[in-house]
């Protein structure tokens, strides 16, 4: 195999930057912010898998599996929160939720 780790890391850095840009640019929309977080976590998983295959150890892949479990629980809780907030205010705009007391 001739894929250099350096290029994998470049791809992961670019993916992470794009996820961060999505989270920042769509800060008025909860769902697109969550999508940006997904992209960033995928970039981290790419880094872990690349390192794991570079040094021939399974640990990186196991951490990416843990990251997937973490992501699925995070997304389920966050989307339940989105449904709850939408039921209260009929909106997913973050600017509508600027007070602690509903």
């Amino acid at each position: 195999m001739t894929i250099p780790l350096f290029h994998v890391l470049i791809l992961a850095a670019l993916l992470f930057a794009m996820g961060l840009a999505c989270t920042i640019a769509w800060r008025a929309n909860v769902i697109m912010m969550l999508i940006g977080i997904e992209i960033m976590l995928n970039a981290v998983m790419l880094t872990l898998v690349g390192g794991s295959s570079q040094w021939g150890m399974a640990d990186g892949q196991i951490f990416s599996l843990m990251l997937m479990a973490l992501t699925s629980s995070e997304v389920s809780l966050a989307l339940a929160m989105v449904v709850y907030l939408h039921r209260r205010r009929q909106s997913v705009d973050t600017d509508d939720f600027n007070s602690m007391k509903g």
Partner: protein
């Protein structure tokens, strides 16, 4: 051969993600993102992680993105006029961040000397599961607890009052 495939897949991933973060409708963003995750799963396979590639397709593209799609359709957020899309001003900090990251990556790539790289190792499923259940058994239990807590929390948040 693997390198060519990797660059094509990297291009597909980057272009798909770029279309996803600039899409005007959330549903289109999800579909572009599924495309990008499929390419990423193939990259994982090329890097010698077949199990992670399978989980990427099953969990990410199959479960999480469908969950997003389900919530968007349930709350009827598919109309672009109901979702406030970012103005051009909102993109400026994001573009600055992307440019800074890309520039630092470019500087690092220019300084990087081509050194002999170690061969990539594929990791077999046997090695993976032995490490998972022997060295990280406690972590598996913790993750299952975490999933249970997420389930309970989602049920609590989602019930009607």
């Amino acid at each position: 051969m693997e390198a060519t495939l990797f660059y094509i897949l990297a291009l597909v991933t980057l272009v798909g993600t770029g279309f996803a973060i600039t899409a005007r409708q959330a549903v289109r963003a999800i579909v572009y993102l599924v495309n990008s995750f499929f390419a990423l799963a193939l990259i994982f396979y090329l890097l010698g992680a077949p199990l992670v590639a399978a989980f990427e397709v099953i969990i990410y593209a199959g479960a999480i993105m469908v969950l997003f799609l389900f919530v968007i359709m349930m709350l009827d957020l598919g109309h672009p006029e109901r979702m406030k899309s970012p103005r051009l001003v909102d993109w400026i900090p994001a573009l600055v961040l992307v440019l800074v990251t890309a520039a630092s990556v470019g500087v690092l790539a220019a300084q990087h000397h081509a050194q002999p790289l170690a061969a990539f190792h594929g990791i077999s499923v046997r090695q993976f599961s032995q490490t998972l259940f022997q060295r990280y058994g406690v972590a598996v239990e913790l993750v299952s607890l975490q999933l249970l807590f997420a389930l309970v929390g989602a049920i609590y948040l989602g019930r009607r009052r």
